[in-house]
Symmetry: C3
Subunit: 340 residues, 3 copies
């Protein structure tokens, strides 16, 4: 690793705007969990599960709530919300992971593309005609920004990212390597046994502060646009089909798939490996647990699940035989109880 | 968006070879759903669910069946199959989304590659020795066409596509960004605790009129080839393992996975997130619903499913406990009923 | 295909260090299954399922165990473990699929990158400052090797691979096209409805002899590192989240997802499409069958499963209604049996 920046505790308290309790001159050069922290590390305590780690931690300083502060005798940064304070602190110790390319000589930037100021475009990246790259955007190597696509201010794209024509990405987006946005939706008209492709004339509109994880795909709409709200966080390997709409601040974890024209509300949490079938609507504030299949609309906030839970394979084999008999079993019981 | 082409209704009727009923001179500059259409838009009516939208539509013209034509007072294109007519019309309003690169200067085309006529090869794309690119093929940026691979006439590849050595792609294929075809199958021989890699000596053979969605992978065969039939449509993020065979006109939706040596028949529909285990055989005309696990061969046409359906998480937790007791529960019932 | 190498049977016996029984001068120019072998092909017999194929095989020679040797009258290579012998033989017939680029002129190799000897770097590949590429490494086209990342001896990367800064890949790795290693883990701190990104300060450490399939993602850790043991084999489209640890010689099949901080032991087999939720621990020697959800830790070796098995969709619909009534049904039965 590059040598991370180092701070004295007083500077950290000021940068994070929290109260300091302890030795203001101590040097902090890293962040670590309570259990793994060594001298020079800052740590944080936010979860009672780690109370024993707190007592034994070798961290030079700990971010801690005022209520818990007495439990740590060492140097402290006192924060009402230690986990959020840790999130802020993390950026103080992050290396700038994107190379400073400027406009790489090997990049292919069309003369009719519009570029803002303080832009970074990596090697071999292609920016097509009419594309618009706002101020402060940083794009890695081997990307393609399609015709008339637009990337909002201070957004960052890693490497090998494909943004198709006319796609709109908002401000402060973070798009990881291998992402494909604006590929054609999967739309066909069947005639006999053959499928005729339907040209996908919509686009993809992505709000501000959106994160799109590595190798995720978001398809363009058939006629209307696929829409991703502000503050949406999408993990790796997620598939968002054409004409999906996702409300603000919804989180979608890895390997989930959202089929065509499904609508997900605001502030939802879709765990990993979830499947959401086409045309269903999910209201705001819904949680769907891992690997569930949402095969109907969800009209009330709450948590939803499917699956059988895990079993030993031999027992499971017996139980799935019974699962297939479940309806007839239920009928027998009902009949028996009724005839008594 | 680039300004889309505009047509008068008479021209559209001629291009689509359908009967016109109404004002032949009206200008049509876009396609839209009945609900969202505005002046200048063409729309289509094919599903009774949208009957109210039809009555209220502001579309300048509607594609409609002869049986339904009386229900729309405005300008009409009369088509026996309005949805197929819409599919055809969609292409009249599509922009050409692939840049016209010609043979990009930055492309690396091996002197021993064979190129047909009217070929488009994008920036930084690598075409290795012995590769064959037929007439009318259009390839985007940052692709790799491996040694002796062959791409059939009028096929299109988007960006960052990898076609490995000796893979054969048929005519009129559409391969989206991030696709990897011809990676090694996942084959090992176990000796003690260690795995020895088995070289994958087969290839991938893809028929005509195949679509392969973004970030999908199709592995090469171990000894024989992996085979994808004519007219097969594969969505995004699908995984096709080594030696799989897929019959003509089968559709595989997003995030499905087909394990090694599985065989899928013709005219099947594999919905999203489906898993098909290795060596199973699925006959023709089978539908598998979303997120089902096909853990046995399917010998009769029809629709197949697995999973539990969605529940509230608290209720679900109670029910999965009972699922694990299902076999013993069934036995108790049987015993009780028998001993009565 | 390029013409494969051809061997006489005596040379093959020597190269594979096995006993020859038959005509030592016969020419072998390919490998094939017993059923598909023709003159000039070597085949292998290891599974009684293929006994009839053995009897009818047209192979010019067969790899066979001493116990079974009498069942094949033709030329034989006698190996204690025919399948492992086949695995070794497969490499004798493999073409070298990576182009010999040397250091491609169009590659962007930072002057501060450290390169070993006998290195192959493909077109347009970017190697950033401080990156270290050991002896014998072969990298395809359009890859990015991030700052201070390190690739161990004799490793091979295909095309469009992204290795982020500071990631460590061991020796003899095989990393397929489209892989992304070292993207940020999916970590946020929630404040009100908004999510604050947590900088991911850990890295990814990958042992020796690891295979990573096409379009797979492995995220970097939040504070500590994500760790992949020696001999681990990961298939295509797998998602490994931040701070996951995977023990030596564990196999993870296609489309599986391992959520944050999960730990998988040694010598496990995780089948395709499996989901493993965050923070669970799986002990050594565990098998998880296809598409199972591991939603709890597994402390005992063995095989584990979830799901319902496959049914006809109409029957399935009835049974999933009953699944939702399972707990109340079980209670009714219990009550009835108790009150008798």
């Amino acid at each position: 690793m590059d040598k991370l920046r180092s701070y004295d505790l007083a500077s950290l308290a000021e940068l994070l705007q929290v109260k300091l309790d302890g030795d203001a001159t101590i040097k902090i050069s890293g962040l670590a969990t309570l259990a793994n922290a060594n001298e020079g590390d800052l740590s944080f305590y936010h979860n009672p599960l780690y109370f024993n780690d707190l007592l034994k931690s070798r961290a030079s300083a700990v971010i801690i709530s005022p209520q818990q502060a007495d439990n740590f005798p060492g140097n402290k940064l006192i924060a009402e919300q230690p986990y959020i304070c840790y999130a802020r602190a993390s950026h103080l110790f992050a290396v700038n992971t994107q190379e400073n390319y400027g406009l790489a000589e090997s990049a292919h930037i069309h003369p009719q593309a519009r570029l803002g100021e303080k832009i970074n475009i990596g090697n071999n990246t292609v920016v097509e005609a009419g594309a618009s790259i706002a101020d402060g955007v940083s794009i890695g190597a081997n990307c393609v920004i399609g015709r008339n696509a637009s990337i909002g201010k201070d957004s960052r794209l890693d490497h090998n990212v494909c943004i198709a024509h006319d796609v709109v990405v908002g401000q402060r987006a973070y798009i990881y390597s291998g992402v494909v946005i604006g590929s054609d939706g999967f739309g066909f008209a069947k005639e006999g046994e053959k499928y005729h492709k339907i040209a996908q004339l919509g686009s993809v509109l992505i709000g501000d502060d959106v994160e799109v994880g590595a190798n995720t795909c978001i398809d363009r709409g058939a006629l209307d646009d696929t829409r991703i709200g502000d503050g949406v966080k999408i993990d790796n390997q997620v598939q968002i089909a054409h004409n999906v709409e996702i409300g603000d601040n919804t989180v979608i974890c890895g390997c989930s798939a959202v089929a065509g024209s499904a609508r997900i509300g605001k502030n939802c949490v879709i765990a990993g490996g979830v499947g959401i079938i086409n045309h269903v609507e999910i209201t705001d504030n819904v949680t769907v647990t891992a690997m569930s299949l949402v095969n109907q609309s969800i009209t009330r906030p709450g948590s939803y699940s499917s699956g059988t839970g895990l079993s030993n394979t031999l027992e499971w084999k017996k139980n799935i035989v019974r699962f297939r008999q479940l309806d007839s079993m239920a009928k027998s019981i009902k009949k028996y109880l009724t005839t008594k």
